[in-house]
């Protein structure tokens, strides 16, 4: 299972998908992946930064949506205060 978490004032909005089912062509799983991809692109366009996070692995900043990622966390644009 993959999960996209987008930080916001509401906490974080989550969207999950089943990568294995999507690979077999399951329509619902494919739609979930596409929706996650769309939201990822929308947030990136707003200036958000995306990180691939997995237990025991170094955090990695990613530029493109990765449907195989266990968890992607998106943070809003930041500025020096």
């Amino acid at each position: 299972m993959g999960m996209l978490r987008i930080m916001s004032r509401r906490g974080d909005d989550r969207l999950s998908w089943d990568g294995q089912k999507a690979l077999t062509g399951d329509a619902e799983a494919v739609a979930a992946v596409r929706e996650a991809e769309r939201i990822f692109a929308q947030e990136r366009a707003k200036g958000a930064t995306a990180f691939r996070v997995a237990p025991g692995k170094p955090v990695e900043r990613i530029e493109h949506f990765d449907a195989t990622a266990e968890q992607i966390v998106m943070v809003p644009r930041v500025v020096g205060g």
């Binding site: 930064t49 955090v59 943070v75």
Partner: protein
């Protein structure tokens, strides 16, 4: 007609209540915030990203230490609530950093944000932050 002593007593209690209410608000505000849905969701994310030891450090010490990925003697102290991130080298605070999201986020999310940014791209994080040197 209310007798004067009783009126004065009532007024006294009102003044005391008004005086202590900001203090009570300051004491209980973090707990009240913790009950909100957004704070609970942010706390879930925090627990998913941090190790149990890191969560304990954040609760008991009030900050999370994020080791620098490039400089072994440097750690970043990210406060539990919004504030400056301290840069500590060889056990000495050398700098304070200010970096904030353009959108208001729950405190726990801000901690995660700093951790992810430092670990994924420390150089970029330092470029974006405003720096205030600590002078002794």
């Amino acid at each position: 007609m209310i007798p004067l002593p009783q009126l004065l007593t009532a007024l006294g209690w009102i003044v005391i209540a008004l005086a202590i209410s900001p203090m009570l608000w300051l004491i209980f505000q973090p707990y009240l915030k913790g009950w909100s849905r957004s704070e609970r969701r942010a706390a879930d994310l925090l627990r998913a990203i941090l190790t149990p030891e890191q969560v304990r450090q954040l609760i008991w010490q009030g900050y999370l230490e994020v080791p620098s990925p490039t400089e072994p003697r440097r750690v970043y102290r990210v406060p539990r609530v919004k504030g400056y991130v301290q840069v500590v080298e060889n056990g000495r605070a050398i700098m304070r950093l200010c970096l904030q999201p353009v959108e208001s986020l729950p405190d726990a999310d801000v901690v995660v944000l700093h951790k992810l940014m430092i670990e994924a791209n420390e150089e970029n994080y330092l470029q974006k932050a405003n720096k205030y040197l600590c002078v002794e």
